[in-house]
């Protein structure tokens, strides 16, 4: 019944994230370079409210409230801290997250991630060393129900379709021009 294999323990020193991800997190990323690009919320930015948009987003700062990117990918970087309910097409988590996370496709939890909450996604992958406490629901029917419920809730709270249920507020803006640009985009327009 049992095979033994010499392997490292579950919570090793961090350091298994891909070099591509490392490069992405350290590079000077333009706030918004054009169609198909990734918007960035910089390290010193704090946002409280509802974020929604039509492009990919990377968070290295702090966001609380609700994040809606139903057709795009959200990356929560190593420096990122999120306390929010999140709805996306796909998600990659390297930082700290607390809340309900719903993705229509996949959630990838990297070795540096610390997550407390519930995940609903058809595909969930988790790297060795990641901290997770909560539930992971991979039942397609549950995900479908959650997505429908989310849509009903969104329409009810935003009948005009403006998605301005609660204005996002921005604090502690002491950032580089690049980061400030992203933050203004996120907080002012809210539609990324």
């Amino acid at each position: 019944m049992f095979d033994k294999k010499d392997a490292s323990r579950g919570r090793p020193a961090q350091g298994k994230s891909s070099s591509a991800a490392d490069r992405a997190s350290t590079a000077t990323t333009p706030a918004r370079a054009g169609p198909g690009s990734t918007a960035v919320i910089g390290r010193s930015i704090k946002i409280d409210g509802t974020l929604s948009g039509d492009e990919d987003l990377r968070i290295e700062g702090y966001v609380s409230g609700t994040i809606r990117l139903p057709n795009h990918c959200l990356t929560i970087g190593k420096e990122g801290r999120v306390k929010a309910d999140v709805y996306t097409k796909s998600m990659m988590i390297e930082g700290e997250v607390s809340g309900d996370l719903i993705s229509s496709e996949s959630v990838s939890i990297r070795t540096t991630a610390k997550i407390s909450g519930n995940i609903l996604a058809a595909r969930v992958s988790l790297e060795e060393g990641a901290h997770f406490k909560g539930s992971i629901d991979m039942d397609p029917k549950s995900i479908e129900r959650a997505l429908v419920k989310r849509e009903v809730k969104r329409v009810a709270s935003d009948p005009g379709g403006s998605e301005r249920a609660k204005p996002a507020t921005l604090t502690n803006v002491k950032s580089t021009p690049t980061e400030t640009g992203a933050a203004q985009q996120a907080a002012g327009d809210k539609k990324l």
Partner: protein, 185 residues
């Protein structure tokens, strides 16, 4: 584990930490996995030297987890070896209150090892329904070596459905929740 292939929803409660192999294995079934991650609480309780304040209670960590759907399968694996009899009783009662009648609890206990590692071993399910022991660490604790009678006494809400001796020096138990237990317990 064979039953998981049935086309129905399963709720699985894993008392250990989230493991890539477990999530990967379960991702092919219609299921929800609740991760209790009791390891740190269990170790804190074992290492507690009577310092000021209350003793850490790993069972409280489970009780404080939000309840939603009752569990169909509970994976305790190596954890019972790291609890006192009183804590096992508390744990099994807490499991009973958050599980469906007929729910299974899968546990492994050491029967021949006189020492066990500092932290609970890590296990991963394989495709063919076997478990692989990934790592046990250096053995430096006296093994508890609970008997079947011990575990039976500590689990009044459960029947022991199956016991199997394994060549690794472990004993595999399959408990089954006997009857509904009031949620207020």
């Amino acid at each position: 584990m064979e039953s998981l292939a049935e086309d129905r929803r399963w709720v699985i409660l894993d008392l250990g930490m989230a493991r890539p192999q477990t999530i990967d294995f379960l991702s092919r079934f219609r299921c929800r996995v609740d991760i209790a991650d009791l390891e740190d609480a269990v170790i804190a309780s074992l290492d507690w030297q009577g310092e000021s304040g209350a003793a850490p209670d790993p069972v409280e960590s489970l009780r404080s987890m939000p309840r939603s759907e009752p569990a169909d399968v509970v994976l305790t694996w190596d954890y019972l070896n790291y609890l006192s009899r009183q804590q096992i009783t508390g744990l099994m009662t807490a499991i009973a209150t958050r599980s469906r009648p007929g729910a299974f609890v899968h546990a492994l206990t050491g029967y021949s090892r006189s020492v066990m590692s500092r932290r609970p071993g890590l296990f991963a399910p394989l495709d063919e329904g076997r478990l692989i022991e990934l790592s046990t660490g250096t053995p430096d604790r006296s093994a508890t070596r609970y008997s079947t009678e011990d575990l039976d006494r500590c689990s009044p809400d459960f029947t022991i459905e199956r016991i199997r001796l394994l060549t690794s020096g472990m004993q595999e138990y399959l408990f089954r929740l006997r009857q509904p237990v009031e949620a207020s317990r």
